[in-house]
């Protein structure tokens, strides 16, 4: 299976739980969003604490955790987005 290096960004509570703000991961291009989340939880088990609350932003567009395939290319940016509190 084709794999690519992607940048994962963590924000707010997810960054505190993961203990990192960003990291580079090698993942399958056709990974689903829930599978990617499971990868992240495997690396940072404390992320379980926000699982029910987060969505991804893939190439700066929101994607819910679910069966959707992400079609990731080399260098793509995926952000973990906890509940928003701007304003």
């Amino acid at each position: 299976n084709n794999t690519n290096d992607v940048s994962v960004l963590y924000f707010a509570k997810s960054a505190e739980l993961a203990g990192v703000k960003s990291e580079t991961l090698c993942v399958r291009a056709d990974i689903t969003s829930i599978q990617l989340w499971q990868e992240l939880e495997k690396r940072h088990p404390k992320l379980l604490g926000v699982r029910e609350q987060v969505v991804f932003a893939v190439r700066q567009e929101y994607v819910a955790l679910g069966e959707q395939r992400l079609s990731l290319s080399e260098g793509d940016e995926v952000a973990v987005i906890p509940p928003l509190s701007g304003g």
Partner: protein, 148 residues
């Protein structure tokens, strides 16, 4: 005052500097607009009885700017007479009672800018990747969540 040569400005800024209502207001004023509506979000000193001593804002900056530009595009589609839009959001440490966000919209008639400002702050809170952490006097800091 903004130039008035038929232009339509979308002015977006995320900054760690203190926000200025004068600057934001001036940036949307134009000689053909009778109305400027503004919204200021300020940081409060209490939350559920806890004393807030400081706030910190964090953003996914490029996506926040992109989502703010989408909001501007939505406003122009819904209220085509809107002239200039300016959105300044502060990041980093914001002392309590200081302003975290200023939105200003100018339009020839008042209802368009009033409704556009309401849409803008409602949508900003719902879609723009910015986060606020409240730091309390005597409890653990807490990342907030917009409810409405």
């Amino acid at each position: 005052m903004a130039e008035d040569g038929g232009s339509y400005l979308d002015l977006i800024k995320l900054t760690t500097d203190k926000l200025s209502i004068d600057t934001v207001s001036d940036s949307v004023t134009c000689s053909s607009c009778g109305a400027v509506s503004l919204f200021l979000g300020t940081t409060r000193d209490h939350f559920e009885g806890k004393t807030v001593v400081q706030l910190e804002y964090e953003a996914y900056v490029p996506m926040a700017e992109s989502e703010l530009r989408k909001i501007c595009a939505d406003i122009r589609a819904t209220w085509p007479t809107v002239r200039h839009i300016c959105i300044h959001h502060r990041l980093g440490v914001v002392p309590i009672t200081e302003t975290s966000v200023i939105i200003a919209v100018s339009s020839p008639h008042r209802h368009d800018s009033l409704e556009a400002v309401k849409y803008c702050i409602d949508t900003l809170k719902a879609t723009v990747p910015i986060w606020k952490k409240e730091i309390y006097e005597s409890e653990e800091p807490c990342w907030k969540e917009n409810k409405e």
